[in-house]
Amino acid sequence: MAQERDEDNFRSQVEDRLDHLFEEESPETTEGHVALAEHPLKGLKAVLLSIDWEITDSTMDSLLNEIKNVEYVYSEDKIILTFLQLLGSIGKYVKANKSKAHPEATRVINSVYEALERVALTEGMSRPEKERMLLEEVGRFKKLKEQVVLRKLAKKEPAVSEVIPPPEPAPEEKRIPVTESPTPEGVQLEAGREARFAEMSPHEAFAYALEEIKNVIQAEFRALRAEIKLWRESR
C-alpha cells in the first residue's frame, strides 16, 4: 500500500514537472488560410508528399504532370505560374539526378511549394506580398544553383552530371526576376562522392559533412549578396 502510494507520488512529481516545463500556449491559428480539400493544388501536394527518399521516375513524372495541371488552372496568374516554373525546373533536375541530386534540391522544392500554397490559398493577400514571397523563393532557387556550381568546383573525380534546367519563362511575364535572370551556363552536378557516401566510415562521413557545411556557408553568403542585389533592383 505504501509502495503504491510512493509510486503514485513519484509519477505525479514527474508529470507535474513536465507539465510545468512544457506548458503550451494556445495553438497557432491559420487565419485566412483555406483548406486544400477541394483545391487544384491538392493533387500537387499529394504527389510532393509521396516523393520518397528513393525518388523514382514514376513519382517525378507524376509531379511534373501535376505541375502542368495546375499551370492550366492558373494560366492567367503570372505569379503562380512562376512558382510552378520553379517547381518544374527543380523537379526535372531531381528526376534526372534522383538521389544524386544536391542535398538542397528537395528542401527548395518543399519551400517553393509551401510559399505557393500560401500565395494561392491565403485570402486577401496583396500582390506586393505575393511578389515578395516569390522573390524569396527565386533567391532560394538561385542559391541552389550556386551551391551546385560550388559542388562542381569541389569535384575531384569524374562523375555523372546533369544540368539544372532554367525555369521556362511565363508568357508575357516582365516583372518577375526569375524569368529575367540568366541561368549560369553549364551548371553541373557532381555525383560520384554522393554515391559513395553511404559506404564511408563514420570518420570519413563526418569529414565530408564538415566540408558540406563549409560549402553551404559560402553559398549562403553568395546567395545573401544576390538577394540584396535583387532587393535593391526591385525597389
Partner: protein
C-alpha cells in the same frame, strides 16, 4: 541503458524517436526545440544530408530537474529513417531506455511503417532487448493532412498493423503543427523514468 550515478544523484535516460524515413521524427524534435527553447536551455544537434534528411541522428538534451533527490536528464535522439542507414539506426539504439515510434499516416507509407517497426524489433533484439518490454509510445503523425484531402491510413489500420500485439499508448499527431507532439514526449518520458525507478530506490 540509463546512466545512473547514485553518488551524484544523477539519472540520464535515452529516448529514441524511431520510424520510417520522412515520417516526422526530426520534425518532432524541432517542434519541441523551437517551442520550448527558452525553457529547456539546451542546444539541438543535427546533421543532415540530401534534401534535409537526417544523416546520423538528431540530439536534444532536456534537463527535467530534481525529482526525489535525483537530477533527471533526458536525451532525445532520432535515427535516420532511410533504409540504407540500418547500421546507424542500430548504433543510435545502443543504450536506449524508451522509444517513440513515429508512424507515417500517409496511405502510401503503410508498408514502410510495418518494415520500420520490424527493423526496430530486430535492432533491439541485437541488444537483447524486447520491443514488448521496453517503454514504447506510438505516434501516428501527419494527421493534419486529413483536412487537406490527402489520403491517410485510418488510425484503426495503423493500430492493427503496428500496435495490435504491443498495446502501447498511441497518439494521433502533427509534428509540423504541434498537436500531441508534447503529449507524446511527456508520455514516453514518464514511462521511461518509471521503468528506471526501481534502480533509484
Amino acid at each position: 541503458m540509463a546512466i545512473i550515478n547514485l553518488k551524484k544523484k544523477e539519472v540520464q535516460a535515452k529516448i529514441v524517436y524511431y520510424g520510417p524515413g520522412r515520417g516526422g521524427k526530426t520534425t518532432n524534435l524541432e517542434y519541441i526545440y523551437k517551442k520550448f527553447r527558452s525553457r529547456i536551455q539546451t542546444e539541438m544537434v543535427t546533421i543532415k544530408t540530401h534534401g534535409d534528411r537526417t544523416l546520423f541522428f538528431d540530439f536534444l538534451p532536456i534537463e527535467i530537474g530534481r525529482i526525489k533527490g535525483y537530477d533527471i536528464r533526458i536525451q532525445l535522439y532520432t535515427v535516420p529513417g532511410q533504409v540504407k542507414y540500418e547500421s546507424t539506426r542500430r548504433l543510435v539504439l545502443r543504450g536506449v531506455d524508451g522509444i517513440v515510434f513515429v508512424a507515417d499516416s500517409l496511405a502510401v507509407r503503410r508498408k514502410e511503417n510495418v518494415l520500420s517497426l520490424k527493423s526496430l524489433a530486430d535492432n533491439l533484439a541485437s541488444y537483447k532487448k524486447s520491443i514488448s518490454e521496453i517503454p514504447l509510445v506510438f505516434q501516428y503523425n501527419k494527421r493534419d493532412l486529413l483536412d487537406e484531402g490527402i489520403p491517410l491510413l485510418p488510425v484503426e489500420w495503423l493500430e492493427k498493423d503496428l500496435n495490435s500485439k504491443l498495446m502501447a499508448p498511441s497518439f494521433e499527431a502533427s509534428a509540423l503543427k504541434g498537436p500531441n507532439v508534447v503529449q507524446t514526449m511527456k508520455k514516453i518520458i514518464v514511462m521511461t523514468i518509471e521503468s528506471l525507478r526501481k534502480d533509484l530506490t
